[in-house]
C-alpha cells in the first residue's frame, strides 16, 4: 500500500519528464506560431485539447511548458540544496553562535515573502526564467538548512561519529563521510517536496508575468491567457490547471513515498 504512493508519484513525475523530453524533438503543432484562422477551437481532431486565443495548439504548449517546470524546479531546488544543506550542516556540527546566526538569518529569509523577492528581481533585471529560479531558490534555502541541521544533530550524537572521532577523523571528514551520506535521504525527501512547491511558485509567478516572458509557453502564462476567455472557452483554463495539479501531486506523492520507503520504522516487513 505504501509502495503504491511511491509508484503513483514516480509515474506522474515520469510523465512530466517524458513530456518535456519529447517536446524537445516533437510537438503535434508549432507551440509559438499564431494561426488566426483557428482561434479557440474546442477539443477534437487534430487539436486534441483545442487551441487558444492565438490559434495555437494547447497540447503542444503544455508539452513545452513541462520543460520550464522541470528547469525551474531543478535549478531552484538545486540552488536551495547546494546553499542550504552545507549551511545546515555547519550549524548542526558547530552549534553555539554559528548555529544561532545561520538559523536566525534563515528565519528572516523564511519570513520574507518569495513573491516580494520575485517582484524585486523582476523589476531590477526584467522578468525572466532566471529571476523566477533565483527567487524560488533563495526562498527555499531555509527549508533545506533546517532539514539538514536536524539530521546533522542526530548524526553527530551517534556512536559511530564518536568512533570516527576516536579514529582521528577531522570535523570536515566527519561532515563529508558520515554526516552527508546519513542525511541524504531526508534531503532527498525535502528536494521532492521542494520541487512541488517550486512548480506552484513558478506557475504563480508566470501567471503574474514575473517569470518566463512570452512567447515561451509556461503553464502559468497559459492560465493567464485563458483567463480572458474564461466564459467563452472555459476548458482552455482547465488544461494548464490540471497539468499543474498533477505535477504538484506527483512530486508530493514521490516525496511522501520516499519518506515512507526510506524510514525503516515505517517500512513494511517483507
Amino acid at each position: 500500500m505504501k509502495r503504491a504512493q511511491l509508484f503513483a508519484g514516480l509515474a506522474l513525475v515520469a510523465l512530466v519528464v517524458v513530456t518535456a523530453v519529447v517536446s524537445l524533438f516533437w510537438t503535434p503543432f508549432d507551440p509559438i506560431r499564431v494561426v488566426p484562422g483557428q482561434r479557440l477551437l474546442g477539443p477534437g481532431w487534430p487539436h486534441l485539447l483545442g487551441t487558444d486565443g492565438f490559434g495555437i495548439d494547447i497540447a503542444s504548449r503544455l508539452m513545452v511548458g513541462a520543460r520550464t517546470v522541470l528547469t525551474v524546479g531543478i535549478i531552484s531546488v538545486g540552488l536551495a540544496a547546494v546553499v542550504g544543506v552545507p549551511l545546515g550542516m555547519l550549524a548542526g556540527q558547530n552549534g553555539g553562535w554559528v548555529d544561532e546566526v545561520v538559523m536566525r538569518v534563515g528565519d528572516v529569509v523564511y519570513a520574507f515573502p518569495a513573491l516580494l523577492l520575485a517582484i524585486l528581481l523582476a523589476s531590477v533585471f526584467g522578468a525572466s526564467t532566471v529571476t523566477a529560479m533565483v527567487a524560488i531558490g533563495v526562498a527555499s534555502i531555509p527549508a533545506f538548512a533546517r532539514v539538514a541541521r536536524a539530521g546533522t544533530l542526530q548524526v553527530m550524537a551517534s556512536d559511530f561519529v564518536l568512533a570516527a572521532r576516536a579514529s582521528g577523523t577531522s570535523r570536515w571528514g566527519i561532515a563529508r563521510r558520515h554526516v552527508l551520506p546519513n542525511i541524504a535521504p531526508v534531503v532527498g525527501v525535502q528536494a521532492s517536496v521542494g520541487f512541488a512547491l517550486a512548480i506552484l511558485a513558478e506557475a504563480a509567478l508566470s501567471y503574474l508575468g514575473l517569470a518566463t516572458p512570452r512567447p515561451t509557453p509556461t503553464w502559468g502564462n497559459m492560465l493567464r491567457d485563458a483567463q480572458q476567455f474564461l466564459f467563452v472557452a472555459p476548458l482552455q483554463a482547465l488544461w494548464p490547471g490540471l497539468a499543474i495539479a498533477l505535477a504538484v501531486l506527483g512530486f508530493n506523492l514521490l516525496g511522501d513515498g520516499l519518506r515512507d520507503y526510506l524510514d525503516p520504522r515505517l517500512r513494511e516487513v517483507p
Binding site: G95, S158, D159, F160, L162, A163, A164, R165, A166, S167, G168, T169, S170, R171, G173, R177, H178, P181, N182, A184
Partner: protein, 278 residues
C-alpha cells in the same frame, strides 16, 4: 616512562559543575592491561573519554593525562586527531550503533589506515581482510563488503575490534565492549581480544561493570566508585583479599556459585551501603 600517566584527573559537567571524576590517578606501561571496574555513573567511561579528549564541550577537565609523553588535556583538536587511531584507539559498548550504517564495513575499517598512513584502497583492502580474519570473522571477504545491518552483533563487535587494532595502536581502550553481547558471544569476543592484544603487544584499558569479564582480560584492576578510585590491585588479590567493602561486595556478586543453596543471593549493598559510608 609509562605509556599512559593520569594524574589527579577531575572532570565535572555543565554550569553547576556536577563532578563525574574526582582526583583519579593511575598509570599504564606499554603492553600492560588494566581493568577499570565500577557501577554505572562511577566515572569509568568519563575517564576513558578524558584520556582520548573525546569529552563533550560542556565538560570541565582538570589534572593531567600524558599519553606517550604528550599532554592530552588542553591539546587542540588537530593534535588530538593525530594521536587518536594512531597511538590510542577505542572500542565502544554498542556494536549496533558504533558502525556507520551507510558505509561498507571494510571501508570503515580501512578508514583509520587512510587517515594515518594515507593508505591506498587496494593494498589497504588486503590488510583489512587479514585483520578481519585475525579477529575471528569466518568470511572476511563477505564481511568487508557487507553493510553493518547485514551483520550480527557479535560480527559487528569483532569488526569494531578490527577497526581499533588495524593501525597497531600502543593503547586500546575498551569501553564495556561485550556488555551488549550475549554470554556465548561475549566469551568468544573476549578470547579473541586477549589473543589479538597478545599478538600486537598493545596496552589495554578495559572498562567493565563485570569483575568476571575483566578478570578474563586483565591482570591489574582498579575499582571506581562515585568518581574515585577506591581500590587497586591484581585480579587475584582482589578476589582473595578485597580490602574495600565495596570491592568485597563486587567479588561476592561475581562468585554467585559460592552462595549457599537456598540462601538469598548476596548483593553489593550487603557489604557496602552508601548511606553508611557516603
Amino acid at each position: 616512562m609509562s605509556l599512559l600517566e593520569v594524574r589527579e584527573l577531575d572532570v565535572s559537567f555543565g554550569r553547576r559543575r556536577a563532578p563525574a571524576v574526582r582526583g583519579v590517578s593511575f598509570s599504564l606501561d606499554a603492553g600492560q592491561r588494566l581493568g577499570v571496574i565500577g557501577e554505572s555513573g562511577s566515572g569509568k567511561t568519563v575517564t576513558a573519554l578524558a584520556v582520548t579528549g573525546l569529552l563533550p564541550e560542556n565538560a570541565h577537565v582538570g589534572g593531567s593525562v600524558r599519553l606517550g609523553g604528550t599532554e592530552m588535556i588542553g591539546l587542540d583538536e588537530r593534535g588530538l586527531a593525530r594521536l587518536r587511531g594512531d597511538t590510542v584507539s577505542m572500542v565502544f559498548q554498542e556494536p549496533m550503533t558504533a558502525l556507520d550504517p551507510t558505509m561498507r564495513v571494510g571501508r570503515q575499517v580501512a578508514e583509520v589506515l587512510r587517515l594515518h598512513q594515507g593508505a591506498e584502497s587496494g593494498p589497504a583492502r588486503d590488510r583489512v581482510i587479514a585483520m578481519l580474519d585475525e579477529v575471528g570473522l569466518a568470511d572476511p571477504e563477505r564481511v568487508a563488503d557487507a553493510f553493518p545491518h547485514q551483520l550480527s552483533g557479535g560480527q559487528r563487535q569483532r569488526a569494531i575490534l578490527a577497526m581499533a587494532l588495524i593501525n597497531s595502536p600502543d593503547l586500546v581502550i575498551c569501553d564495556e565492549p561485550t556488555t551488549a553481547l550475549d554470554v556465548t558471544v561475549q566469551a568468544l569476543v573476549l578470547a579473541k581480544l586477549d589473543e589479538v592484544l597478545q599478538a600486537s603487544g598493545a596496552a589495554c584499558l578495559f572498562i567493565s561493570h563485570d569483575l568476571a569479564v575483566v578478570s578474563q582480560v586483565c591482570d591489574q584492576v582498579l575499582v571506581m566508585l562515585d568518581g574515585r578510585i577506591v581500590e587497586t590491585g591484581t585480579v587475584e588479590r582482589l578476589f582473595t583479599a578485597p580490602e574495600h567493602p565495596y570491592t568485597r561486595g563486587l567479588v561476592a556478586t561475581a562468585q554467585l556459585e559460592r552462595a549457599d543453596p537456598g540462601q538469598r543471593l548476596p548483593t553489593v549493598d550487603d557489604f557496602y551501603a552508601e548511606a553508611e559510608h557516603g
